[in-house]
């Protein structure tokens, strides 16, 4: 079996004295959509933010244990190099308001002073926007500000911005929670396309969404990883009572 792209070993995360993620062990494989679900406050977002080391930006935050990206300990890498390899899409679309659509897609390069020639720039913008299923809608308005787009379009722009950096992994933190149902469906469809090239880790509080889009599902409860299994198996034959209770709606 091929080496997992991401391995999590005995991992803990704290905010001050509050332990938010407890002893997580997990191996994730390439080109799959992995859903991380669980009730509010179960530590799923914190866990996600540990994978690109955004968690440590909060004062008082700390972690213990290992996360290996292709065998390399991410806590021994520079956070900057790590974040170039692990992209992130947030709950609310957050395109840069002072940049055009074109600049937003290239933001990772522009802000890091990575020089590109004009042809490369245009190629990256077009292919990223195509992969994000936004190209047809914005190709004539690339010089407009990104904030003029609708919420769903803005979120796809943020996906384009993340994949323009050609990351190994794309983290998605409830990317549809601020969107209407049609935009949500659009993004979900897009995830299926994206997994051909990337490994996607999707945090969602929406069970149906996890069931619809993911290949594997991790169920978090009170900071613990209760169960991790292929999605179909987890939803049809959960091994843990807590998982069973959650998916049958006995608590949320």
């Amino acid at each position: 079996m091929e080496r997992p792209i991401l391995e999590v070993k005995d991992f803990h995360a704290w905010f001050g004295t509050h332990e938010v993620v407890r002893n997580v062990n997990l191996s994730l494989h390439r080109n799959r959509v992995i859903a991380v679900m669980g009730p509010s406050g179960c530590g799923k977002t914190t866990f996600l933010r540990c994978i690109n080391r955004m968690h440590e930006l909060t004062p008082g935050a700390r972690t213990e244990g290992q996360i290996l990206l292709e065998g390399e300990d991410i806590y021994r890498m520079s956070p900057i190099m790590l974040r170039l390899r692990v992209g992130m899409v947030f709950q609310r679309p957050n395109p840069f308001p002072h940049m055009t659509i074109y600049e937003n897609v290239l933001a990772g390069y522009l802000l890091n002073n990575i020089k590109l020639n004009r042809n490369d720039k245009e190629a990256i913008v077009e292919s990223s926007l195509r992969k994000a299923a936004l190209w047809e809608e914005v190709k004539d308005n690339l010089k407009k500000k990104g904030t003029f787009l609708s919420g769903g379009q803005q979120q796809r722009l943020c996906i384009a911005r993340a994949i323009a950096m050609k990351p190994d992994i794309l983290l998605l933190d409830e990317p549809t929670s601020a969107l209407d149902p049609i935009s949500t469906a659009g993004i979900e469809e897009l995830l299926q396309e994206l997994k051909k090239n990337y490994t996607l880790i999707l945090v969602t509080h929406n069970m149906q969404q996890a069931a619809r889009v993911s290949d594997d599902t991790a169920f978090f409860y009170m900071g613990e990883l209760v169960e991790f299994a292929p999605t179909r198996q987890l939803f049809t034959a959960p091994q843990d009572q807590r998982t069973q209770n959650y998916i049958t709606g006995r608590f949320s």
Partner: protein
């Protein structure tokens, strides 16, 4: 049965009208001095304004005509240098305050900034005198600029801090998550997004000190000749107005009125510029 009789309703309506017109009256009252000052200065000063007023030096007593070229150039230079001095310090302080809003040092700095607002301008002038004029041995435009820069700082810091604090965390995270280092996030995302607010803060602080006289009395000192050397005494509009207004000569009074009008228009233009910048450049999150 009616709960409120027609008669009482009438009375209420009348009272409400009274209150409304009272509020309007007092609001208009605050405008009165402003309108009066504007009209009076325009009336007194407009006669002095012509081409030679802007390009000539003041004539000696007894000769008519002459202009305020030295004061105009001096004011531009003194205020310009003051802005160059104050902007880096002011923006850096505002950045520190907004990035560490809850820190102890930030609290102390914020308190000092508040106190700085209340320090009389003549005292700021004395400080600049002590720092620069005394050690150098002569009055200089530079010392005047330092005094004005000190006065600009609190206004600039407070307005810039307000703008910078409004920058949403989500955009900061968007940048950091792209692997952009913290300092580049500040320079390339935070500052450009806050540009209109920061710029208008700078311009407002300029508008606030253009007309300051007291800090310049024993720093820039004044100079009847045109000079561009910032290490020498230099004339400025408020100094010229002050000196000429207390002189006994009618032709000098006339120049002072004209200079007052120029100063007024300058400040008005700065305020209009601020509004334009806010309207055109502000970034909506």
């Amino acid at each position: 049965m009616q709960i409120v009789s027609i008669k009482r309703l009438r009375r209420r309506e009348l009272r409400s009208k009274l209150v409304r017109s009272g509020v309007l009256f007092f609001t208009l009252l605050t405008l009165l001095p402003l309108v009066y000052i504007l009209l009076y200065i325009v009336k007194q000063g407009i006669g002095a304004i012509n081409w030679s007023f802007f390009v000539q030096l003041p004539k000696p007593v007894g000769e008519s005509g002459g202009g305020i070229a030295n004061a105009l150039a001096g004011s531009f230079i003194i205020v310009g240098v003051a802005t160059l001095l104050a902007v880096p310090i002011g923006i850096a302080s505002a950045l520190y305050l907004s990035e560490h809003s809850n820190g102890q040092l930030a609290g102390a700095i914020r308190f000092c900034v508040e106190v700085l607002v209340g320090i009389p301008s003549i005292v700021v002038g004395i400080v600049a005198y002590d720092w620069l004029v005394k050690p150098m041995g002569y009055f200089s435009a530079l010392s005047g600029s330092v005094a004005l820069a000190i006065m600009m700082l609190p206004i600039m810091i407070r307005s810039a801090e307000e703008t910078l604090k409004r920058f949403p965390t989500s955009l900061r995270e968007a940048s950091l998550a792209l692997g952009v280092p913290y300092y580049k996030t500040i320079i390339k995302v935070l500052l450009p997004c806050s540009l209109s607010g920061v710029l208008s803060g700078i311009i407002l602080s300029v508008a606030r000190i253009v007309g300051e006289t007291a800090p310049l009395l024993f720093t820039a000192f004044g100079n009847p000749y045109l000079t561009t050397n910032i290490l020498r005494p230099m004339q400025s509009l408020p100094l010229l107005i002050y000196n000429y207004a207390i002189s006994p000569y009618d032709s000098w009074h006339q120049l002072a009125w004209g200079a007052a009008l120029v100063l007024l228009i300058w400040i008005l233009l700065l305020n209009i510029l601020t509004r334009i910048i806010i309207r055109r450049w502000s970034v909506r999150y």
